[in-house]
Symmetry: C2
Subunit: 180 residues, 2 copies
DNA sequence: GAGCTGACTTAGGAAAACCAAAGCCAGCTA
DNA sequence: TAGCTGGCTTTGGTTTTCCTAAGTCAGCTC
């Protein structure tokens, strides 16, 4: 019952939460705007310029982010200026920070020469990393992750092509072979 | 020197590692294919059908993933069949699993009614979560993250519009207001 | 009360991404 | 050696995403 991966064709990813998350944040611009929000950007023009997108795109995406509940638009006022609106991360939006952190961590390792910013623990100064951890408190490396059925699991209607002898990712040759 | 966010306009995100990562995995299809790879999918047709994309798209993206070094294409042979190619995660591709895990965690919380699969620690059975942790071993909540300059930080050429009194994300009103 | 500025919107168009349907090819099986 | 199957590629068309350039509008400042 627990060997889901061995019967990969008996269940579908129709209601996959990764796909559902990607429906909200599945494009580059949206994630760049969220990056800016997490770095303290609040004004429309700053969002557009710092994320490197045009104003029409910024307007469209910010509107969508507010509609999706990731940002909140609220009026603010600077002395001697008129009332304006600013965009602030909601708790729902803030909960996407691990996604940004994971992307940054991977990008630091594989996609840039040198990181432009570092992320540290404010209280102790030590670098912050994204980790997988189980509720029992263990660090969980990628090869110790097990996939189990959840309450929303949907069976597939058509029994698809007979599968390869399925293996979870961690038993693949890719995890034991010598690195290139 | 450490209050980067207060001088957000003095540095640019031109070489941002998040943007660089998004250049590689910044579209929905790519991440869905990586999801499938992490769930043990190895054959072309299975990638296309399970990720829900057409064959031409699957072919293009898989080719790109191999070119980017996230997947490795290698011949395999089942008894009584001819030699075929399969796609396996490389270590570089496997290091993106925290991104998928973070997306799944967010999606489970906000984007689906009930998760279709659960992820557990193989050794102890406890649910696995994505966490931010510092090298000193502390759990780091979002409001204790500090942003520091890295070696690749680029200054901006044009001093942009005078900024709002900048605040790191964790001091925003969004973190202290009552939730809706 | 004219001008400026921040915050957008509108218009028009280019590029990227995606799809369905059909075709191609290698190499087993019969 | 004819047919089947997995693994693609080609064709043609639609949708999405993004751009530049220009216009709008509210409400301070002068």
């Amino acid at each position: 019952m627990t060997d889901l991966l061995a019967r990969r064709d008996t269940w579908s990813t129709a209601n996959c939460s990764i796909a559902a998350a990607l429906d909200v944040v599945g494009n580059r611009t949206t994630l760049l705007l969220l990056r800016e929000a997490s770095l303290g950007t609040r004004r429309f023009d700053d969002f557009a310029h710092r994320a490197g997108v045009s104003e029409p795109v910024a307007a469209t995406r910010l509107k969508q982010l507010v509609a999706d509940g990731l940002l909140e638009r609220r009026p603010y006022r600077q002395p001697g200026q008129r009332t304006r609106d600013e965009y602030l991360l909601t708790p729902k939006g803030r909960d996407l920070l691990p996604v940004l952190a994971a992307l940054r961590q991977w990008g630091d390792t594989y996609a840039v020469d040198e990181p432009s910013i570092r992320v540290a623990h404010r209280d102790c100064g030590a670098p912050v990393q994204v980790r997988l951890r189980c509720d029992a408190g263990h660090d969980v490396p990628a090869d110790e992750v097990a996939v189990l059925p959840g309450p929303g699991l949907l069976p597939t209607t058509p029994p698809a092509t007979p599968d390869l002898p399925a293996q979870p990712c961690h038993t693949h040759p890719c995890h034991t072979r010598s690195e290139t």
